[in-house]
Symmetry: C2
Subunit: 138 residues, 2 copies
């Protein structure tokens, strides 16, 4: 158990339940996000929260199941970094797996008054040099 | 001046001079890199050093000039994170600018015995959802 396990669990549960409040609760007000899709950066929680609102709405009756793989964590004096390969699996209302994609994910978290919040998230896939297209699966 | 300024300067100089030793000197032996191009991850300095060797060789007589923009830094108790938009400009032997591209860059560094080393680097560009191609300029 590390300080970051609860962030991982809240993230997984919040996304599965499309719970915007729970999702927003793990990020710092000033979070800077380099997200994989369509935009260079999100500065601050309001912008990032709006992204999540659009994401959850776009799922319709499907849900995203998130699993973390090859996780590495370093913690020291109130700051922590987690790196992982993260799989997003879309499942139907009936629980059928529809498709999945993978990301590299970096989280940097800080502890303030005993509470850990993510101050930076960076997600991406590697780019194929010939086609300039993103690789979505390892 | 922060602990990370010297990492930035060494990185810029090492790449401009295609100096593999100087490049490798700013990374931890166990560095984990999520690089923008062609591969999911690099685990450890030997693999990352090999990438740099190929990069420098591929430049021929050109050089890469690197500039950091929109830099944000957080430091606490022996760990630091730097995020930035980084521009790589290829210049010819005569100093002509040939082309450039931009990345989002994340560095996480740790201090050991007074020396800061990068333990994690993540670079990427955002992906256009329609084409699945990477965006190379802001």
């Amino acid at each position: 158990m590390t300080e970051l396990d609860s962030l991982v669990k809240t993230y997984q549960t919040a996304v599965f339940q499309k719970d915007l409040e729970a999702f927003a609760s793990i990020f710092d007000e000033k979070v800077r996000v380099f997200d994989m899709w369509g935009r260079w950066d999100y500065d601050g929680l309001p912008a990032w929260r709006e992204m999540a609102q659009g994401w959850f709405a776009s799922l319709g009756s499907n849900r995203d199941v998130i699993t973390f793989h090859d996780v590495q964590i370093e913690i020291t004096g109130g700051m922590a970094v987690l790196t992982a390969i993260v799989r997003f699996t879309a499942v139907s209302e009936k629980g059928e797996e529809l498709r999945y994609l993978e990301n590299r994910l970096t989280w940097v978290a800080r502890e303030k008054a005993g509470v850990w919040k993510i101050i930076h998230q960076h997600t991406s896939g590697p780019i194929d040099f010939e086609t300039m297209k993103v690789m979505l699966k390892r």
